[in-house]
Symmetry: C2
Subunit: 399 residues, 2 copies
């Protein structure tokens, strides 16, 4: 009996023009109310990893997420991704009798994130990108990354952008069937290798309002969202694409911070209001604002949670880390890029920085800081070495 199996990993992406709002008339298709743009971050620090095996021995489709078995049927978006990829495989098998009949087999899906789920760190983006990419490998689908992004989008909107490395736009599209609402790469990760990111994990508690619920409520109740959609985002997308093409960090940073602010503004204009930023998030905004007072050297952005991502050129990262270390003692630092090199302590605070803009926070207010950079899209991994399923088709690791 042949076993069909694939293992892949996929990156998270952090948007610099935010996606917030689903077209209420096309909820099943997961179409956005505006285009968005993100940077794909390195899988060396943050990734989802998925193994999918198809076998005639399996009596049903099964799913394990981070070591817990979950119901597939209850997860409509996952069912959609599975149905779409299976249908594509079935039609290939219909046309070519030589192809193995995988589409009719049950599958076991095992997926893990190497970071806390649902803490505002885009876990659903890397998770669904990885699922769809691994399904495409398993079924040997002849689709490019943009084609796959259309399927991943139906799993989780922002997942479509994790189908590419580097700088990725999700074009909202205009067709009724959503077939042109897809990710495209604006520039590969090699285009701007100087761009790095510092992620501050403020809290890994499950967030209060899920993105899906939150954005539906915003679309329904925020008077300001319509203005953002119509009058702000289209121009901002154009400006952001140009800033990336030109590697113009001050403009990139300016637009990134403005768009993060505006996303949280429409959350606050939602009724009842949605808050993702807390006092620590706001202190990080103040710190970056003060650091930028004589010229833009860093950009903050916040997704649907209190965690900050700070984008900056490599040369500024030591100063940024020194500032974060000053205000947020007692964090764990992931220094896999070697920022501190041989120094145990961070470097001195930037000159001319007025430290009075915020008090020093108590130990552990920021739990973890990760230093990472823009990097590549999904990777195919060797199952023998990286596979998550044991010979019986059950997870090697259970929670």
């Amino acid at each position: 009996m042949t076993i069909f199996e694939a293992t892949c990993s996929a990156p998270v992406n952090i948007a610099v023009v935010k996606y917030w709002g689903k077209n209420p008339e096309k909820i099943a298709l997961n179409l956005p109310t505006n285009s968005s743009l993100s940077v794909t971050l390195s899988q060396d620090q943050l990734h989802s990893k998925t193994t999918i095996r198809a076998s005639a021995d399996f009596t049903s489709d099964r799913l394990w997420l981070n070591g817990h078995e979950e119901s597939i049927e209850k997860n409509k978006r996952l069912v959609t991704c599975l149905r779409e990829t299976r249908a594509l495989r079935a039609s290939m098998e219909d046309k070519d009798a030589a192809l193995p009949k995988i589409s009719g087999l049950n599958i076991h899906v095992c997926s893990e994130n190497n970071f806390p789920t649902a803490a505002g760190l885009a876990s659903s983006a890397s998770g669904y990108a990885c699922l769809v990419y691994t399904l495409a490998q398993l079924f040997q689908l002849p689709l490019d990354a943009s084609d796959l992004s259309i399927i991943a989008r139906q799993g989780s909107g922002s997942a479509c952008r994790s189908m590419f490395g580097g700088f990725v736009a999700w074009e909202m599209g205009s067709k009724d069937d959503g077939s042109d609402s897809k990710a495209v790469q604006i520039a590969p990760e090699t285009h701007w290798p100087d761009l790095q990111a510092m992620i501050c994990v403020v809290s890994d508690a499950k967030k209060g309002t899920s993105s899906t619920e939150g954005m539906q409520l915003t679309v329904k109740t925020s008077a300001l969202l319509q203005h953002r959609i119509k009058d702000v985002v289209p121009k901002r997308m154009e400006e952001m694409i140009k800033a990336i093409q030109d590697k113009d960090f001050p403009t990139f940073a300016d637009l990134t911070m403005k768009d993060s602010n505006q996303f949280h503004a429409v959350c606050l204009d939602t009724y009842p209001p949605i808050f993702y930023l807390n006092d620590i998030s706001r202190a990080i905004i103040r710190i970056v604002t003060e650091y930028n007072k004589d010229g833009i050297k860093a950009a903050y952005t916040f997704d649907a949670g209190p965690n900050a991502v700070i984008y900056a050129p490599e040369k500024n990262m030591a100063e940024i880390y020194a500032l974060l270390s000053h205000y947020f003692p007692g964090h764990q630092f992931d220094d896999s890029l070697g920022l501190l090199k041989n120094n145990a302590a961070p470097s001195a605070l930037p000159q001319n920085f007025d430290t009075r803009i915020s008090p020093v926070f108590e130990q552990g207010s920021v739990k973890q800081i990760l230093h990472t950079k823009a990097d590549d899209g999904p990777r195919v991994l060797e199952t023998a070495k990286h596979g998550l399923l044991n010979p019986e088709g059950l997870p090697k690791r259970l929670a």
Copy 2:
């Protein structure tokens, strides 16, 4: 030698449709980018009190605020109010030779608030309303409250609304000289005696961004503000006026909360962003939202600071105070309306309230809670009893 003197008090007002944005082409006139609407709160709890004396003995104009002498010349807006009222007095004296010549005398101004200045409790509103009202008394100006509101507006925008009791609109006006940008009373305080307010003083620290600076930055940088001004506020003003006329609390509350949220949303859309709400403010929003889950019973609103004002019908005030007492222990309670009557402790929490929506905050997170209600406009006080200046024309109390 005759001494001319007047002593008055004026109330604070808390807007339910917020003023945020000065017309950048008319900065000197202090014209707003949108109309606004407020409730005047009782002077029994919060007020400014001002004594102004004119005397041939005085060698210069002098000013004391809360027991500190301040420069008049450096305060352009105060100079404007003084110049305008003196000019009106001078023209009266020109026309009627029998009138005492007060306009040419130097004055001493002594003003006190019975609450912390610049903590987001509308101290400049009551302060400038009181200044202009007292000047009008001193000079015996034949002006009605709307006329005076035009002068007070040039001191501090929201001061114009403190010229009336009850429910007061500041009509933005359309004339170039600002002569129709004035306050009008929508309904007197006797119209809706059931409406009460609970003020939570979250912090009496001086706020980070002054209203004037903040709103100028918002006008300059927020893309969303223009939409609020053009498309949201005009309709909201009409709906709010109708809700007040109908004493329709659910609609009044709904609009009040939405407008507070939107004001803070445009602050967040400002660049760099302006934050007035902190984690305690946000907890108060969550508490009111949960309290309203089966029907609107209270409305929060926040001005340019973290302090909350909760409007509600009298019958809900005991429950609201019980909730605030649960989450914010260690506050001082101003119970001059007799809410607790003979009970030392607040009543039980409302049934069906899910207390898990927020943790209990540490002692003193909310410093003070004041229970108050809608009430009358500026009052003329008897100088012999209430005057703030001693026979030498100096403050009776210095800080």
